[in-house]
C-alpha cells in the first residue's frame, strides 16, 4: 500500500537576482537579447580576465536571506566548482561552498493540517551558466551532431536556496514554492518570472516506510521551471520509488529529468564525472565581511512580508483567510487594495470588487494588476457610489465594464449616461403604481397568499426604471401597496 510509505522532499531553488548588470562583470542581464550580444571577456572566461563582485548582488542576497529569516554570515567567500560542460566557458562555476552567504532560515507554509514551518539550510550566491540551443529539424538537442551555445546568460547573478528535507508531499512542495516566490517578490529580490527561467528548482526525493528514522535513497529531479510540472514530477517520482521498493528492488541514487508531455521522469545520461567538483576557494575574489550595520540597514528597508501582511489584513479589515490570501498574493495587489481603502472604500466591498470583478477580467485577459486600465482611486469611487446608494450594484457592474473599456471615471460615466439610482420615493411610487395597474393578476395571487409573486413585480419595476430604481425602496413601496 502506498499509504505505508512516507515521501521526503528537499528543494534546491535557483533564483535570478534583479540586477542590471552581471555578478562579476558589467554586461547587462536583460532577457531576450540576440545570442552572444551581452558578453565580455570576463563572462566568456577569456584568459587574463578578473571577476569583480557587483555590490547589488550582495545586497539583494542579504535581503533574500533576511526575508527568509536566515542569518547572514559575518565572513563569506566564493569558491570554484569545477566541471566541464559547454555552457560553462571557464570550466568552473563561481559559487559558494563551505562559507555560504547565510544559514538557517524558515518558510511557513499552509497545509490542510495547519501551518507548517519548513527549515532552510542555506542561501548562497553563484553565477548562472550559458544556454544550450537545440539545433536539428525535430528540435531535439544534438541531433545535428552539434550543440550551439549562447553565453548571454553566463554570469547572471543567482541565489540558491536549499531547504531541509522537511516537505512530505508534492502539495507541500508546491506550497513551499508559492510562499518562497511571494517572499522574494515582496522583498524585491527577484521578479521570479518562470517563463524567463528566473526561478528554477531541483527536487531531492526519497521514500521510506512510515516510522522509519533513516532516510531512503534519494533521486534528484533536475531543472524544473513550472510549479505545476514540479508537483506532477514529484508525485510521479514518489510513486515510481514506492513501486520499485514494493517489487523488492532498490532506488538508485541518480539525477533524473521530467518529461512533462509523457508524464514520466527518466535518468539523465550525463558524461560528467559523478559529483566530484573539487571545490576550492576562488583566488580571484577577496573574502567578504558583512557588517552588522549593513544587515541592519537592509533589514530596515524590507517591506512588510506576505505572511505578516496577510495576518494584518485579517485583523484590520476583518477579511477571511481566503480573501486575505488572495489580496496579499502579490505586493502590487495588496497595495492596490490598500489604496482603495485609503480612498474610503469599505474594505469588504473593496475586496469583492477587486478580486471578483477586476481580477476576473484581468485574469481572463492574462494581464497583471499592474496593467489594469482601472486604478484603485476609480474602483474605490465606484464602490463608494454603490455603498452610498447613488447607483445600484447592478448598474455598478455596467459602469465597471465601461470603466475597464474606456478608462473613464465612474462619476463621469454615471453622469453622462444618467445612471444614478432613483431613490426619490415620489418617482418610485409612480413607477410602482403603473406596474401594479398593468398586472392585476399577480396582485390577486399575492393577496391569495402566493407571496413569491412579489419578486416578479419587483422585477417589473426594475425593468420599467431601466435598472435604476433603488431595489430596497421598491420592495418597501410595493409591500406597502400590496398589503394595504
Amino acid at each position: 500500500m502506498d499509504q505505508d510509505y512516507e515521501i521526503v522532499i528537499g528543494l534546491e531553488v535557483h533564483v535570478e537576482l534583479a540586477t542590471d548588470s552581471k555578478i562579476f562583470c558589467p554586461c547587462p542581464t536583460a532577457f531576450g537579447a540576440p545570442p552572444n550580444t551581452q558578453v565580455c571577456p570576463v563572462c566568456l572566461g577569456l584568459p587574463g580576465t578578473l571577476p569583480v563582485l557587483n555590490r547589488q548582488v550582495l545586497v539583494l542576497a542579504i535581503r533574500a536571506a533576511l526575508a527568509l529569516e536566515a542569518t547572514p554570515a559575518e565572513h563569506t567567500k566564493f569558491d570554484r566548482k569545477n566541471y566541464f560542460y559547454p555552457d560553462l566557458p571557464k570550466a568552473y562555476q563561481i559559487s559558494q561552498f563551505d562559507q555560504p552567504l547565510a544559514l538557517r532560515g524558515i518558510i511557513e507554509i499552509t497545509t490542510p493540517a495547519g501551518p507548517k514551518r519548513i527549515r532552510i539550510t542555506r542561501v548562497h550566491m553563484e553565477e548562472d551558466a550559458g544556454k544550450l540551443l537545440h539545433p536539428g529539424a525535430d528540435g531535439r538537442l544534438g541531433t545535428a551532431g552539434s550543440s550551439l551555445v549562447d553565453y548571454n546568460r553566463t554570469g547572471v547573478p543567482l541565489i540558491e536556496i536549499v531547504s531541509e528535507p522537511d516537505l512530505r508531499s508534492a502539495d507541500e512542495a508546491y506550497a513551499y514554492l508559492i510562499a518562497l516566490k511571494e517572499i522574494l517578490q515582496y522583498a524585491g529580490v527577484s521578479d521570479c518570472n518562470m517563463e524567463e527561467g528566473s526561478l528554477r528548482c531541483d527536487a531531492n526525493i526519497s521514500v521510506r516506510l512510515r516510522g522509519d528514522q533513516v532516510l531512503g535513497t534519494k533521486a534528484e529531479l533536475k531543472n524544473m521551471n513550472s510549479f505545476k510540472h514540479i508537483r506532477s514530477a514529484i508525485e510521479y517520482e514518489a510513486r515510481r520509488q514506492i513501486r520499485v521498493l514494493q517489487e523488492g528492488g532498490q532506488v538508485v541514487q541518480e539525477s533524473r529529468l521530467w518529461d512533462e508531455e509523457k508524464g514520466v521522469s527518466y535518468p539523465m545520461r550525463s558524461k560528467e564525472e559523478a559529483h566530484d567538483y573539487r571545490y576550492f576557494p576562488e583566488p580571484d575574489l577577496p573574502v567578504i565581511t558583512i557588517s552588522a550595520e549593513m544587515c541592519e540597514a537592509i533589514s530596515q528597508s524590507l517591506p512588510e512580508l506576505p505572511q505578516a501582511r496577510r495576518q494584518r489584513f485579517r485583523q484590520k479589515y476583518t477579511l477571511n483567510e481566503y480573501n486575505a490570501g488572495v489580496l496579499t498574493s502579490s505586493r502590487e495587489l495588496a497595495d492596490f487594495f490598500e489604496s482603495m481603502v485609503d480612498c474610503q472604500a469599505p474594505a469588504q466591498a473593496a475586496c469583492n470588487w477587486l478580486t471578483v470583478e477586476l481580477l476576473g477580467k484581468l485574469n481572463a485577459e492574462g494581464r497583471r494588476i499592474t496593467q489594469s486600465p482601472v486604478g484603485p482611486e476609480h474602483l474605490a469611487e465606484l464602490v463608494r457610489m454603490i455603498e452610498s446608494g447613488k447607483i445600484s450594484g447592478k448598474i455598478g457592474k455596467q459602469v465597471f465594464a465601461e470603466m475597464y473599456q474606456s478608462g473613464r471615471t465612474p462619476e463621469d460615466i454615471v453622469a453622462k449616461q444618467g445612471l444614478s439610482q432613483i431613490s426619490d420615493p415620489g418617482v418610485l411610487e409612480k413607477v410602482v403604481d403603473e406596474v401594479l395597474a398593468a398586472h392585476p393578476g399577480p396582485i390577486a395571487e399575492y393577496r391569495n397568499g402566493k407571496t413569491q409573486t412579489m419578486g416578479f413585480l419587483v422585477g417589473r419595476v426594475m425593468q420599467a426604471s431601466q435598472g435604476k430604481a433603488n431595489p430596497k425602496l421598491v420592495n418597501q413601496i410595493l409591500k406597502e401597496r400590496l398589503d394595504r
Partner: protein, 96 residues
C-alpha cells in the same frame, strides 16, 4: 606509503579532461607525491590560534556598483570560437 597512486593520477586527469600516456602518468604520480610531501612538511607547523584563511591578500569587500557597460561586439565575441553557427558557439554534440 605514498598517497598518490597511478589510479589517483588517472582519476584526476580524467576530471581535468587530460589524456596522459603511461610515461606521463608515472611521471605525474611522482611529481604529485612530491607536492604532497611538501604539504606534509607544512602540516607539521603548529597553527594553533591562527585563523583559517582562504586568501593570502589582506583585502576584503572589493566590489563595483551595479552599472551596465558595453561588452564585446558579437563578431569579436565569436572570433575565438572553434566553430560558429546561427550567431552561437558550435560545440560537439552533448547527450542528455
Amino acid at each position: 606509503m605514498p598517497e598518490i597512486t597511478e589510479e589517483t593520477v588517472k582519476k584526476i586527469s580524467r576530471l581535468a579532461n587530460l589524456r596522459l600516456d603511461a610515461d606521463e602518468t608515472a611521471r605525474f604520480t611522482e611529481h604529485l607525491e612530491k607536492v604532497l610531501e611538501y604539504m606534509r612538511k607544512l602540516n607539521q607547523l603548529d597553527t594553533t590560534g591562527i585563523p583559517q584563511t582562504a586568501h593570502a591578500l589582506p583585502k576584503q569587500n572589493v566590489w563595483r556598483e551595479d552599472q551596465v557597460l558595453p561588452g564585446l561586439d558579437r563578431s569579436e565575441a565569436l572570433a575565438g570560437a572553434p566553430d560558429v553557427r546561427d550567431d552561437c558557439f558550435r560545440v560537439p554534440r552533448i547527450i542528455e
